[in-house]
């Protein structure tokens, strides 16, 4: 049962990160949970061939691609049948009522998509510039430029909000 145990450990470790990456971009709680489930369903289906030293970047990459597809089609992407809608309703309520979360959400919404992605990966999820570069298919230098721009924009928004 080592395969199941290993996968469960990975899911517990990374599923919140993937969910947040999707949620802070879409602000759609249920879609984010559905896409998170899809990411890990795909991971399970290809578990044997996955490079375990590259897992985090692979998971984010799949999440990123699913999201790009969703934006492009503006409809449900083709989700796996085993995707199941289990939702943390308490978290949904908390996200709706938390003032700090609302402020962050509004600040992130002022960023263009490319800056928002870098901001989430780097400042919220703590990924390295190299990992963010792989996920977003840009260079590390580009990630550093984008993160700088994102921070300047966020500073401006936050100062205006005061």
């Amino acid at each position: 049962m080592a395969r199941e145990d290993d996968f469960s450990e990975v899911y517990r470790k990374y599923s919140d990160k993937i969910f947040r990456y999707l949620y802070w971009q879409t602000k759609n709680f249920h879609l984010s949970e559905d896409l998170t489930s899809e990411v890990f369903t795909r991971a399970w289906e290809t578990w044997e061939s996955l490079r375990k030293d590259f897992l985090q970047a692979w998971l984010f990459r799949v999440a990123h691609n699913l999201l790009v597809d969703w934006y492009r089609k503006k409809k449900e992407v083709s989700l796996n049948e085993s995707r199941i809608g289990f939702y943390d309703e308490n978290l949904l309520e908390k996200l709706g009522n938390d003032e700090q979360v609302k402020e962050l959400s509004e600040a992130l919404d002022t960023l263009p998509e490319n800056l928002k992605r870098v901001a989430i990966l780097r400042f919220i999820e703590g990924l390295s510039a190299k990992e963010a570069a792989v996920i977003l298919s840009v260079s590390e230098v580009n990630v550093r430029v984008l993160q700088h721009r994102a921070l300047i924009k966020l500073k401006e928004v936050m100062n205006n909000a005061k």
Partner: protein
């Protein structure tokens, strides 16, 4: 990411320390607010649904069951084999304690077997003498013979079998050394005295 690393990266891009620290503070603040987590229950539900019963069964018990049963079976086979093999053992042999232990268990289940045990001790004395083993072993076995025969008689379990023991000791005496002869005579004397009790 570490805030210090971010500040360094920003300084490399030409920012002064204060500017870099200010932006680093904003990044840290965003990281703290953004770190929301879903409940463990939701995660468990997804895993059970995706992995099915395989997930539930991934508890260590089934994985340990087969090796555990195999281990216990091996222990039983080895234990039974060693008990059977030990019955041929003589005092001083590696498995002799197993033989004695199995005798104790047998007697505790069927007390009538005590007289058989006495005969066994006499056979051991005979064999040790014939093989010219350590006289100390002969002496100790004779002591065991005396003690066991006394015990068997006191419990009324000496019906007829002790004569066989006496016969074995007498045969052993013929082939024994002078010291051993004395000890065998002593044991036979004790047995004879016991008859009068």
């Amino acid at each position: 990411m570490q805030n210090d690393d971010l500040i360094k990266e920003l300084k490399i891009r030409g920012l002064f320390q204060a500017e870099a620290e200010e932006l680093g503070g904003i990044a840290k603040n965003i990281g703290q607010i953004g770190g929301i987590s879903r409940s463990e229950k939701v995660k468990e539900q997804f895993l059970v649904k995706l992995l099915g019963n395989r997930k539930k069964k991934s508890f260590a018990w089934p994985r340990l069951f087969v090796p555990s049963v195999a281990f216990v079976l091996i222990l039983i086979v080895l234990g039974a084999s060693s008990v059977v093999f030990a019955q041929q053992g003589l005092p001083g042999d590696f498995l002799y304690p197993v033989k004695r232990l199995s005798e104790n268990v047998a007697v505790s289940l069927k007390p009538e077997l005590e007289q058989e045990i006495v005969v066994r001790r006499s056979e051991e004395v005979k064999d040790l003498v014939e093989k010219k083993e350590d006289p100390e072993l002969v002496k100790n076995t004779l002591e065991d013979f005396s003690r066991d025969s006394k015990k068997a008689k006191s419990k009324g379990h000496s019906n007829g079998k002790l004569e066989e023991g006496v016969k074995n000791l007498k045969e052993a005496k013929v082939k024994s050394s002078d010291d051993e002869k004395k000890e065998i005579e002593e044991a036979l004397k004790k047995l004879e005295e016991g008859k009068d009790d």
